[in-house]
């Protein structure tokens, strides 16, 4: 199929130029033709003149010859004189030149005159022959008769005249023809010339007009689009470069328009988010103010009672205090919930997947919920439709989720039945939990809002039933974090059923950037924990260390044990101070967690016993108490103080900090026993050094053989001689390949010049015990 080529601007220009050049060439050719004809005409004229001149001269020659013949004839007859040879030759020569003259006419002969010319030639030939005969035969008097010659001469003359007249006519005709041709070619040349001019002008005009129009359209469109009318499309009139440009422009404006729409959309989204944030804040403020009103009001009232009336009704006061307390708790719950939500929204809520038995957790929850259910006369029943495999998901969130759903069900149900139906869908590997109640239910419009933060079915509901209105919003978010889904069905007055679908195996997805480094550490600790669970007791190599927990409260002890195990420590427990001290001596734990409030021997006493004994002094003790005893505790030799209740994160950090396995190294202190030495030991232990002591040079050598030493302290009453011995021993060791150990001389007074010289030590290796505690700590780092 033939497709016409695109009439591009380039093509248009090319065609125009080619046309103009072609016409120009044509003009040139016609001009050439006409000038050739002109030349031809000129030649013709010249020929005509030449032939006329030739004819005239021939006529003259003929007449002369005839006259001469006539004279000769007359002479022959009258005197009978012979021709001299000279005269004879001259006559013949004249005949030859005459013949040559006639022959010269030949080039001027035309087709029209050829016949006449031929007969002229023939006649002349015959005449010439007679004339010749005349000369040749003269002396013998054998000449043709003059009459015959005269007759031939006359015929020849006549023929010459005839030829002349025909020649003139023919020449004129020829000239006329040529003139006509010249005129014609001239006209053609002019016409083509004019046409070329016209074509050039019109082509130029069309091109300018056409380009201008397209550019104008484009310009108009650009101005319009530039002015903000992104919906405007520039009409594409031509399939050429400008057309392409226009299409590109239109595409650009389309893209721009789309981008603008997107920006608008995201702006709207941002505005929406902003509005809901503002709403959330307003609601938040409202929700916080309501319990605060009660707290402040009742408190003020009690103070008034006490101050003004001076007659505090104790029973009334207790009742009011209970109200303050419950409002406070409500407030706390609210704040916790809000923080949970914020944490989820900011992507900081992490999921810790582990394998757990969902049914175990539900059964445990049933026990927890029993008193609450009983209070509102409800019964909670667990039904299992089939075997539910263990789930790999976040157990803590699962527990909180179901607790929320159950307490919710209890809240809105009176004297009814709450059913948990657990089942397993093999097809898609999901565990399904239905929590149904026979309570007040919800209307369809209430169902729509049930998972929205701060929305309870009715504001009066919250007042009647309590709750923050955030529980279900959190539940929904939790389920989504756990890669499950949650739904609700309800009928007003009949009850509500919440359905939770959870995958049996959640895919671990750690969003690294969303989790702060602290949590990552927690996560990695969890991993080490879960791997060590399998090997548990026999594999202590993986354990970060052994921690002794001394606490009389069993619940607190259990909690600590769980935390410790989670963090990867092996825990040893003691329920009183006496046992604790004994275990510390025997088993040499890496760390001790000591509760201060204990019956019989309290924590303070235990601490002093542990710190007094050489055997246990090096073990860092972490004190625990409800009261802030940090300053006193640290003064008495504790390594750290942790307030109760225990913050798991803080405890983990403290343990890591004090764990001997992460210590700086081993320090050897060569010094006789003294208070100053103990102080230094304590100081070193605090700074996480593992300490060994020696009194003599020999002992020091033994110690160094037992364990590689990272730093050596000498001093505090050691004889200078002994010091020199030790230094000698150390330099001997270094020579035998033991790495160089930094040595510090600890002295209460600056060394004398003599001592310095003998010890040959650089001055910065000498630290003084007097200033040890305050200023020179940094030298130990």
């Amino acid at each position: 199929m033939f497709t016409p080529p695109r009439l591009t601007l380039r093509l248009r220009l090319s065609i125009s130029i080619i046309a103009i050049v072609a016409l120009f060439t044509l003009t040139n050719i016609t001009y050439q033709v006409s000038s050739e004809n002109r030349n031809l005409r000129l030649d013709n004229l010249q020929n005509a003149v030449a032939s006329q001149l030739g004819i005239v001269s021939i006529r003259q020659l003929l007449e002369n010859q005839q006259k001469q013949i006539l004279v000769l004839d007359a002479l022959k007859n009258s005197e009978g004189e012979n021709l001299t040879r000279q005269e004879n030759d001259k006559g013949l020569e004249g005949l030859i030149s005459l013949q040559a003259e006639i022959m010269r006419l030949e080039p001027f002969v035309f087709s029209e005159t050829a016949e006449s010319y031929n007969s002229l030639i023939e006649n002349y030939k015959s005449l010439n022959q007679d004339w010749r005969q005349f000369y040749v035969g003269y002396n013998e008097r054998r000449t043709p008769t003059i009459k015959k010659v005269e007759k031939k001469f006359n015929t020849t003359m006549k023929l010459l005249s005839e030829f002349e007249s025909i020649e003139i006519v023919a020449t004129e005709q020829q000239t006329l023809n040529l003139q006509r041709t010249v005129r014609f070619t001239d006209r053609i040349t002019l016409a083509i010339y004019l046409f070329t001019i016209a074509l050039t002008v019109s082509l130029g005009y069309l091109l300018i007009r056409y380009t201008n129009r397209s550019l104008n359209e484009l310009n108009k469109g650009t101005v319009r689009i530039g002015g903000g009318d992104l919906k405007y499309h520039i009409p594409v009139n031509n399939d050429d470069e400008i057309g392409d440009l226009t299409i590109a422009f239109n595409q650009m404006s389309d893209k721009l328009s789309n981008a603008m729409a997107q920006v608008q959309q995201s702006k709207e989204k941002a505005d929406q988010a902003n509005r809901s944030k503002t709403n959330f804040l307003a609601n938040m403020s409202h929700e916080l103010r309501t319990p605060l009103n009660a707290i402040i009001g009742y408190s003020e009232m009690i103070i008034e009672d006490y101050r003004e009336e001076n007659s505090l009704d104790e029973a009334q006061a207790v009742e009011d205090l209970q109200r303050i307390l419950s409002s406070g708790r409500h407030l706390l719950q609210l704040i916790n919930d809000v923080l949970d939500l914020a944490k989820i929204e900011s992507g900081n809520m992490t999921v810790f997947n582990e394998t757990f038995d969902s049914v175990d957790i539900i059964e445990e929850l049933l026990t927890t919920m029993a008193p609450i259910a009983k209070k509102s006369g409800n019964v909670i029943v667990l039904e299992k439709s089939n075997h539910i495999p263990k789930l790999y998901n976040d157990a803590v969130k699962f527990r909180q989720l179901l607790l929320n759903l159950l307490s919710n069900a209890c809240k809105f149900t009176e004297k009814g039945k709450i059913t948990i139906l657990a089942s397993y869908n093999e097809k898609n590997n999901h565990a399904v939990f239905h929590v149904s109640d026979t309570g007040i239910g919800m209307t369809p419009s209430q169902i729509e809002l049930v998972f929205k933060a701060f929305v309870q079915a009715d504001s009066s509901t919250s007042k009647k039933y309590g709750g923050t209105g955030l529980g279900l919003a959190i539940c929904k978010q939790f389920v989504e974090l756990m890669q499950g889904s949650m739904d609700v069905t309800s009928a007003e007055g009949k009850g509500t059923t919440f359905t939770v679908l959870l995958p049996t195996k959640a895919v671990s997805q750690v969003k690294k950037d969303a989790i702060p480094s602290e949590n990552q550490q927690e996560l990695s600790l969890d991993i080490t924990h879960s791997t060590s669970v399998n090997n548990d007791d026999e594999n202590n190599a993986n354990s970060l260390g052994r921690v002794l927990v001394i606490d009389d409260d069993q619940a607190a002890r259990q909690l600590l044990l769980r935390h410790l195990e989670k963090e990867g420590y092996r825990a040893i427990e003691a329920d009183n101070a006496k046992d604790g001290i004994k275990i510390a001596n025997e088993q040499q734990p890496d760390l001790i967690l000591l509760d201060l409030m204990m019956p019989n021997i309290d924590g303070w006493t235990a601490l002093s016993v542990l710190k007094e004994s050489d055997n246990t002094r090096h073990i860092p003790v972490i004190l625990q108490s409800m009261l802030d005893e940090k300053t006193l505790g640290l003064d008495l030799g504790a390594a750290e103080f942790l307030p109760k209740p225990v913050d798991r994160q803080r405890m983990a950090t403290t343990l890591r900090h004090l764990n001997p396995q992460e210590r700086r190294g081993v320090a050897l202190l060569i010094s006789p026993e003294s208070d100053a030495r103990d102080l230094l030991l304590e100081e070193l232990a605090d700074e996480a050094w593992q300490c060994m002591t020696a009194i003599t040079c020999t002992q020091a050598e033994e110690r160094m053989q037992q364990k590689s030493v990272d730093i050596i302290f000498i001093g505090l009453g050691i004889e200078t001689e002994t010091v020199i011995d030790i230094l000698a021993m150390l330099s001997a060791q270094q020579k035998s390949g033991v790495p160089i150990t930094p040595i510090y001389i600890v002295s209460e007074t600056p060394l004398s010049k003599e001592q310095s010289r003998r010890l040959d030590l650089p001055a910065d290796q000498i630290i003084f015990s007097i200033s040890l505690k305050k200023n020179n700590r940094q030298t130990l780092y």
Partner: protein
């Protein structure tokens, strides 16, 4: 004795305010929702109404508008009590016809002052 009608659905807050106001020498009658409040006003006219805005059945704004429509209760002083603390919430209460507005948690001395202000204005007008 000056009688105040306290409309408040939160039991704790109702109990607390009733007792505190009674100590200041006011006679307090309390209602739990807007309908109940309107019924009580119909029965006996209080000197002033303290009204929570988030009420069940009939909320505070609607209740107040109704009071303003009735010629009998048109001039009855109303103080809005609400936990909504934004500026537009205050305007919303005033637009509904409340004479004054106080935010929870309640600044009690300020509330007393507001009550006294409105009551003295009422006596000045000779209502």
């Amino acid at each position: 004795m000056i009688q105040l009608l306290l409309v408040e659905d939160n039991e704790m807050n109702r109990d607390m305010l009733t007792r505190r106001l009674e100590r200041k020498g006011f006679d307090i009658v309390a209602a739990g929702d807007g309908e109940q409040a309107l019924a009580m006003i119909e029965e006996s006219m209080p000197d002033l109404v303290l009204m929570d805005m988030n009420l069940p059945i009939k909320n505070g704004w609607a209740t107040c508008q109704e009071l303003r429509k009735n010629p009998r209760t048109e001039k009855l002083p109303v103080i809005a009590l609400t936990a909504h603390a934004m500026a537009e919430d205050k305007q919303k209460a005033l637009d509904a016809g409340c004479d004054d507005y106080t935010t929870k948690p309640i600044d009690f001395p300020l509330l007393i002052q507001k009550i006294e202000n409105l009551l003295s204005k009422k006596t000045e007008l000779g209502v």
